[in-house]
Structures are given as C-alpha cells and as structure tokens.
Symmetry: C2
Subunit: 196 residues, 2 copies
Amino acid sequence: MKQTVAPEPIDRRILNTALDLFVERGYHNVSVHDVQKQANVSIGSIYNHFGGKEGIAKALYYYVLNEMEALVNSVTSKDLGAIESCNQLIALLLEQTETHRNIIAFALHAKHREFLPEEPPICSAVPFKAMRDIVQKGMEQGEIRQCDPWVAAAAVFGGAIRLIHLRLDGVIEQPIPTLYDALVESTWQGMDTKKE
Amino acid sequence: MKQTVAPEPIDRRILNTALDLFVERGYHNVSVHDVQKQANVSIGSIYNHFGGKEGIAKALYYYVLNEMEALVNSVTSKDLGAIESCNQLIALLLEQTETHRNIIAFALHAKHREFLPEEPPICSAVPFKAMRDIVQKGMEQGEIRQCDPWVAAAAVFGGAIRLIHLRLDGVIEQPIPTLYDALVESTWQGMDTKKE
DNA sequence: GTCTATATCCAGATAGAC
DNA sequence: GTCTATCTGGATATAGAC
C-alpha cells in the first residue's frame, strides 16, 4: 500500500486554483504569479505543465466543457421525454450553480473570446448543441410547440440561464433551486394569464 | 455662423472609438495607445479628459446606461399594458442589437466587474430595475401570471436576452428581429403543446 | 520535473514644452 | 488643452542550477 490518501496531483491543484481565481477576479486580473503562489507550486512547474497562462485557460475550457457534457449526458441517457429532460437539466443547472459555482460560472459566465480567441464560442460546443437537440426532438415529436429552433431553445433555457447569471452576479441573493417550480411552470405554461 | 458641420467633439470621438474597441476585443485587450491612435488624438488628451483608461470605461458605462434608460422610457412613457410594454421593449432590444450593436453589447454582454469593480452590477441599475417593475405591475394587475418576481422577469426577458447573447457571439447568423413573433408567442403562451 | 533568479516587453501613467 | 517623449511597474516567459 503506497498511501492511503492520494495527494492532489499538481496539475489538478493548478487547475483548481486557476479556476477559482479566474472566476473570482477575471482572467486578465490574475497573474501567473497569483496562481503559482496560491497553488503552492513554482512558476516553472506551471510552464512545464501548461506552457503558460493561456495554456491553463485552454485546459480549463475543455475540462469545464467535459463537465457540462457529463451533466447533459446524465439526463439524456435516461431516455425521458423532451419536457422532462429539459426540466431535469434545468434543475441540475440551478443546483450546480450553488454547489459547483465556479464550473458553471466559467462555462456560462466567462467571456472566453477575450482570452481564448482561437477557441470556438462555447455556445457552439457539444453540450450546448445537445441541449438544443433535446428541444428540437421535442418539437418533432409534438411535445414542444413548433417554432424556430433558436427561439425554442432560448425560450426553454433562457429563463434558467438568466437566473443563473443574476445569481452569479450577486443580484439574486437566495439559492436559486428554490425557484425551480415557478420557473418551469412559467416556461411551459407561459406568462400570459389568458388561456385560449 | 461659425460652422455648418459640427466636427465631432473630441470627447465623443474618444468614447465612440473606445466603445468599438472594447466591444470588439475586450477591455483588457485594448491599450490606451490603441484608443489614442484610432481616435486620432494624443494620449495626453485622453488623460486630460478621462483621467485614464478606467475613466473612459466609467464614462462609457454611464453613457450606455443612459441609452438603455432612454430605451425603456420610450416604452413606459406610453402607458400601455404590461404585456404590450414588454413586447415593445423586446422588439426594441432585438432591433438595437442590429442597429446599435456596440451599445447593446456593452450593456448586456460586457463583464463590468472585471474592469469597474467599484460600480454596481449593471443588472441592478435603473433601466433593468424598470424592466422588472413593468413585469411586477403586470402581475399585480392580473395581466401576467403571478409568481416569484425574479422568475417572472427572467421568464419574460430571458429568452430575448439569450437570443441577443447568441447573436452577439456570432452563433446566430440571421438578424434577430425576424425572430420576434415566435419569441413573444413562446414567452406568453408557453412551450408546452398541451393546453389545460 | 521542480525550483529560483532573471530577462524582456509593454501597459498605464506622467512631465513638461508648446 | 494638446502634444511628444519618457518613466516605471508588473506581467509573461526563460535560463539554468538542482
């Protein structure tokens, strides 16, 4: 038995520290020295592992994309109906905003174009495409109202994403999972009091 | 008669140039020298007028807030019903995203906390509060479904804001005013095909 | 592979002539 | 008030010992 408690590998420590700092202060307000100090590694190690600051950001970008993809897959793999899939995904996103704040913030709140100009916009990445596909399929199967695909996706997930942004900005002061029921009812039933 | 065509005053030239550059590249990727060169003024003038780069950003912040407030006021001053007010505002926002892209981008898309840490988050500012108030009033008057105020505002405007973000990121390739009809129907009628 | 010490560059900001 | 030339700090990145 080599060891009972595995020490966090150095790469992970760097990545986690950088994620915290980037989300808290913004990429451009964090220096490599800040990461180096807070992660308790030398600056040489950072350059050895990631090649520089932008290398850290790129690694984080793909790490966070993977996490998002896992989140979406955890729902789609259940083969539920479209509406139920969307609801479970919304519930997960609201929860993760509280429990894994920085991952959600880096995925939904960071402006990657400003520090990773070569990467495609995150909204065009796999997990976000998958979210639009759920809605698309729901429209084809008659479960979701037919309309323009962009509008449908924005209407289904836009409210949740807006709440997440407001929560991350500190404008909403309560944990947002409490808003789940009201949110999904609004989304599916609409905000108009008149029923036709 | 002093002059027939007023030359753009130097302050405005600096502000407009900075707005363009900040939106295009991001605040931290623009140097004072970049602004200075593109605006055809000296660096000294910039420091005289705005005291520095952050001074430009702060002036822009309040300039853009004023523009947003004017936009909201142009609707609320008409004393329409809540739903009609929201619809007109959504229409305006979609249009302005095409015609005054940078103002909308700076208001809705920039992360001000990363370069103006002292300013309050823009979502807590007057025009955004006014948007929530329209929805709130609509709920009190029975025109809009009763629910949590944050959820209501997010449900009403979240879809539009999501479309605007996607458009600004270049993910949506068509002008978004064409999506207006589908968007408002989705918002008010809901995305569920089942009517109760 | 990891570290410290150092090099290099460029940004924001200022000084002072005009 | 506007300009050019200059200063200074701090950032990224590297060199080279261990």
